[in-house]
Amino acid sequence: MTRPGERLPAAVDVVVIGAGVIGCAIAAEIAQTRLSVCVLEAAGDVAEGASKANAGITSSFYAPPPSLECDLLNESNGGWEELCGRLGVPYRRIGALTVAFDAEGVAGLDRLEKQVRAAGVAVERLTGEGARAQEPLLSDACIDALGYPDEGIIDPVRLTWAYAELAARNGATFHFRAPVVGFDAEDGQVTAVRTDRGVVGCRYVVNAAGVRSGELSALAGGEEFEMWARKGQYWILDRDFGERMSRIVLPVPTATTRGIEVAPTTNGSVLLGPDAEEGVEAEDRGTAATNLGRIFEETRRLIPSISLDRAIKTYAGSRPAAEEAVRLRFDEEVPNLIQAGNRSTGVSTSPAFGRRVLALLGERGESTRPREDRVTHLERTPRLLLEADPTERRERRIEEDTVICVCEQVTAAEISAAVSCAVPARSVEGVRKRCRATGGRCQGSVCMAGVILLTANAHGVAPGEVGMGPGTGSVGRG
């Protein structure tokens, strides 16, 4: 993952720690100004922590007002069509339903509706019939529901990559497998960030390290706080089922969790999950039959036609949990350290996070005006799966007509773009994150060897040296 000979910059204006959705969104904003920025990431790719475990929902409401989380959601939610259009990120505002089955659930909806209205977020109260008119697969046992027309679905990993790619095209540098091991300080300010690959001098540090941000804050001499991992497991069901669903469907939330939901994805598949399990290590990506069995039972209460013979994959991820939902401010101890962390709505608040961090730098007298020559759009490799009429007459390169991943309809051109962009894929999982190849119903049975060869060729390494992801393990051994 470390490119041979690749070196860290000697000094930059801003070091961002963490290449998750928040770190990358911040880097994308800063890179468009005259400030220099580099991103240090302990893992081998973007979106390796909570951003990968995200259910791919852009929330319109999460926490009651007045709260920072509520403000950030409201600042972000109107802009998805414009942002995703510019960055080529799959997004659809399909709406969500929170559904109740009994008197207790109805009371929960009453409380929720008041909070959502107070937040100024679009919401409608629906009867069971009304909810089923919006989502015909919804259970007949549903008697009452809240509809959120402004809720959407997004490809969270593609979003994270797109922020990173935009940042890199504007001059930000990304350094993977570069875990931060310490900080240099003078007069209480951080002057440099130490990694096990070298030292980067800096004027500001942004702590966007997700589940590790408490640990890093302590290392920098900043505020003491705790972030811990909350693990969640998911089923992914095939597009063949997903295409019949039209809304995100959720149970009434409890005090601690939004609940196990049924969420269509922008790839056409459906996610069932996540559950919430604490006291686990952040790296724990293991799945278990008992958890997944329970998730299946709970989601079948919402959508009875869910069937596991349409399951194509199970996975687990960790999202950060913390006492303080959102941290977005200068540290109280270290004046040039910006804390940028979010327990749950990282994807949904990321546009506002980027802009607000830039504004914090502005408050310190930094020039945050965007450069005239900045890149604002990412050119798009046509995505065969999403082309309404793929036979439309236009000029095409031969790679655009060569289908490598048949299940997800990914062409050689799309894979080539994924392995040769500014923040390229270096592993099988990296390719899947950027263009979906190997992620379909056969899970790479047909195409994975081809994907490995294309990745190896792009980086001039042997096929056995290509990473599998998410860890450091590669395809071959010995």
Partner: protein, 259 residues
Amino acid sequence: MAERIVVVGAGIAGLAAARELAVGAEVELVERLPEVGGTWGFEHPLVGELRRSCVELGVRLTLGVTALRWRERRLLLVGPGERAWREAEHLVFAGGTRPATAAELPLFGARAAGVFAGTVAHHLLEGKVRLGERPVVCGDGYWAELVLAELGDGARATRVGAAPASGPEAAAWSDWRPLAVRGRDRVEELLVGRGEEERALPCDCVVLAADQRPLRNVDGAIVEAADVTFAQLCADRVTADEVLGHAARSIASLTRRTR
């Protein structure tokens, strides 16, 4: 006018189906690879015979083109130099089989490197990629045999779920099932189970070659429908003649309708 039928997949099943149907229908046979034969290979005698019959009966062969979507009796074809919607009254899908995925087995546990579908392991081993010193091969059929042949005698593969007849090492775990992967960056153990019993098999590579499933990758033709018929025989050890017979039975009612 004769009914138009598209057959997808030109292995023995697809060739056999195309030949049967061509007697009474207008048939196009679409294949992703640039040659017929599928996993049987184009030099297989039955493949050659079926191909000649197909050509004689006027089957249109479209090779090197991938079928992707079946919507309202139109099939989307994409290949170098060709993108087209093909109109047809019926689709016969003969896309072959693959080993079950982890989710289908189901196999739970860690997301560690070194776990491969039998198909992928075979391609990589053919390309001289060394996948591990201590492989575990799950399953007992076409893909398991190919992988074991590529691994050669040097690598002592542990076999799980292979019939006792497959060799002395296979006997030990013949009636066990893979349950979970353990390991961090690379697989370190495969947890296997039999009834209430569980054992951890140390390994650095796991090949999933068990439980054949039909490959289904044409959107809109994933499950049986009025205008979709499947000709895919899922079994561990099958002969070319069994595949031929199974394909003929799969399309029997369609054949009757078109003649």
